[in-house]
């Protein structure tokens, strides 16, 4: 990163930058408050802090999503899912009165890859009753354009479990969501084939004239471009608790929020995609409506307080 380019980014994402700066200032302020409280003399009692678990449960309609079992999409095509994972970041907890707590983002924290068997645990949240959760689906442009020392944790491009799987090397940026599997509707290829090398990596071999093996790989990414504006496929999700429910964060307790994520909505939504036409998708400009669809796949299922 450099100053010249920084200013260019500034132009493209100016408003987000401001929000981000305010946000950083807020974190700074909350840290100051925390420090004040720590010396514990005549300052008011410290705000108690608690933790919170976010459990994103993958569903297919109203049932659990089971990898490798058959489902049918709105276009009537059957398909199986072998991978479904995505980044959640910039999480915010909101109280009834509109005040909020933003979970800090940094080199090591605040970006979470959600995949099977992974839950997110948030620490040091000010105690209180929260009525809504907000988060970003994807990785914001500020973090996406930082140098690699500012992207550790789940964003570490060298971590086999997370970042290494979710990165476009030839067009620098994170893949926000991967939805992969097999569907018979995927047409046979006449110009090459997806084959696996000795290390099970898929690649497109133009010298082979076999079939697609029915494989679909839907990859959504695109943070808006570094110096040329390109599609921004990050999305904001706002989830309100139903029926007067709250998330009660308390010291020494760990409420659990179960969020149901309907994987069928990846392909079906305001636009219903058919595997016959939409199966190898790796470009930000073609996957914006998938990102739109995904905005509607989250609901709060229940909260354990």
């Amino acid at each position: 990163m450099n100053f010249k380019n920084n200013s260019l980014i500034g132009l493209v994402i100016g408003s987000r930058q401001i929000i981000k700066n305010i946000f950083i200032a807020m974190i700074g302020m909350s840290m100051l408050i925390a420090c004040n409280n720590d010396d514990g003399t005549d300052t008011p009692a410290p705000t108690p802090k608690g933790s919170l678990r976010l459990d994103f449960d993958a569903f297919a309609g109203s049932d659990d999503l089971v990898m490798n079992s058959s489902y049918t999409n709105a276009s009537g095509e059957t398909f199986k899912v072998t991978m479904f994972q995505y980044y959640v970041s910039n999480i915010k907890l909101i109280k009834e009165d509109g005040s909020d707590y933003a979970v800090p983002v940094g080199a090591e924290e605040g970006y979470y890859l959600v995949k099977e068997d992974r839950t997110i645990t948030l620490q040091d949240i000010p105690a209180g009753d929260y009525t809504a959760i907000e988060f970003m689906l994807g990785v914001d442009s500020t973090r996406s354009t930082m140098d690699p020392s500012e992207r550790k944790g789940d964003l570490d491009i060298g971590d086999p479990e997370t970042g290494a799987e979710m990165y476009w090397s030839w067009n620098s940026g994170y893949i926000f969501m991967k939805f992969e599997g097999v569907a018979e509707a995927v047409p046979d290829s006449t110009e090459g084939a997806w084959v696996q090398d000795s290390l099970d990596q898929w690649y497109f071999d133009t010298t082979q004239y076999t079939y697609w093996n029915d494989i679909y790989n839907i990859h959504v990414g695109g943070f808006g471009g570094y110096d040329t504006p390109t599609p921004n496929n990050t999305r904001h999700i706002h989830l309100h608790m139903h029926g007067g429910n709250t998330i009660q964060v308390r010291k020494n307790e760990e409420p659990e929020v179960h969020i149901a994520v309907d994987a069928l909505k990846v392909m079906d939504g305001s636009v219903n995609h058919s595997f016959a036409e939409f199966y190898q998708e790796h470009s930000p400009s073609r996957t914006g409506d998938i990102a739109d669809n995904m905005q509607h796949m989250f609901t709060v299922h229940h909260v354990h307080n």
Partner: protein, 366 residues
């Protein structure tokens, strides 16, 4: 401010003056140059004293784009990067190093190939680019898809037709190596070999590969004069070429369509990154340094001589919706050039060759 010692040691037996980094107004970048007096014990045994070896940015180059504060160059970091650059461990089967396609003697391109060849002799889509003066670029690759030098290695490492490996496995191999953990610790203070340390070490080596000692550089610095032919060539170049190939590095770092007939229809150039119609078949304007060593030319290495390049500009430019307007302005498409103008331009371009760069033993990789 950072105070890394930008110092390398070099045997004084090496030809004096062959080290080709020019001094810069050091304060500009806040680099503190420390002259190391003490040598290690073995070196003291050597009757010939070590000559301190300083990495400086050329005074007549623009301000670098690369943020050296985020990755201060050290002798050990540079050497580690060089070792990584030459190491086949970065590829799936150990056979392909970065230097396989970036050979010093060809100004870090892959000699003799139009399209670079990688693992199992698989062919890539493009012509290998020189590793030179990378601190001054703001995007990398012919289409500029990679916006930070530190991020570049991920592309060749994971590309099935280049090194066909993945980054976690490379890190694992390095962590299990008998030398690397110690060497990383010397540079980054930890032997855990983090992703960013691995990438930054590679950048350190590549950043030191600065070519700034051509005849043209010495001319700019008032140390040597150009011949009449070369001066005339320079004047024609400035009139007809430098709107794109501008400045001391002969590039404005923009993406343009210079009217080449479409080669590989899949290679859409900059459009592959931005997906905008106006970027179809545009490629980054390359620097024209060291052309003597980097042939063949263009993103797909289609031209094997500078004569062919100039014939393209005078007679071969193809019209298309994204053809650069600088090539449509004249009475006919392209750039009007007489044969004598062409040869003068070629005379001038030869002053951009820097033989000390490709023979510099400190950056020599194979």
């Amino acid at each position: 401010m950072f105070t890394t010692d930008f110092i390398f040691h070099k045997k004084s037996s090496a030809i004096a003056g062959d080290f080709n980094f020019r001094s810069i107004p050091i304060l500009l970048y806040g680099l503190a140059i420390v002259i190391l007096g003490a040598c290690s014990p073995e070196e003291n045994d050597n009757p010939e004293p070590e000559k301190p070896f300083v990495f400086e940015l050329p005074s007549h180059f623009p301000e670098p784009v690369y943020d050296f504060e985020k990755n201060p160059i050290s002798k050990e970091g540079f050497e580690l990067g060089k070792m990584l650059f030459m190491d086949g461990k970065l590829s799936r089967d150990g056979s392909i190093s970065c230097a396989h396609c970036h050979i010093t003697s060809s100004a870090f391109t892959q000699h003799g190939h139009s399209l670079a060849h990688g693992i199992d002799n698989r062919q890539t889509m493009r012509n290998s680019q020189p590793i030179q003066n990378l601190a001054y670029l703001n995007s990398f690759g012919w289409d500029g898809g990679i916006f930070h030098l530190d991020l570049f290695p991920i592309f060749p490492i994971t590309n099935p037709v280049e090194m066909d490996e993945d980054v976690p496995r490379v890190l694992e191999k390095l962590r299990n190596d008998e030398n690397y953990p110690r060497l990383f610790k010397k540079v980054f203070g930890t032997d855990s070999i983090e992703t960013d340390h691995f990438l930054k070490a590679l950048s350190q080596f590549q950043l030191v590969c600065i070519s700034s000692n051509s005849k043209y550089d010495r001319y700019l610095l008032g140390q040597e004069s150009l011949s009449d032919q070369e001066m005339e060539g320079l004047a024609i170049f400035e009139e007809k070429c430098s709107s794109c190939h501008s400045g001391v590095l002969q590039t404005d770092n923009s993406f343009r369509n210079n009217g080449l007939p479409i080669g590989n229809p899949r290679d859409l150039g900059r459009n592959l990154i931005t997906e905008r119609d106006e970027d179809l078949y545009k490629f980054r304007v390359p620097s024209l340094r060291n052309l003597k060593y980097t042939f063949p030319y263009m993103h797909d290495g289609r031209f094997f001589s500078l004569e062919s390049v100039l014939d393209h500009y005078s007679d071969g430019v193809i019209d298309s919706p994204t053809l650069d307007t600088l090539l449509t302005g004249g009475p006919s498409r392209g750039i009007s050039l007489t044969e004598s103008e062409k040869s003068k331009i070629i005379n001038f371009l030869s002053t951009l060759n820097d033989s000390t760069f490709i023979t510099n033993e400190d950056i020599f990789v194979f």
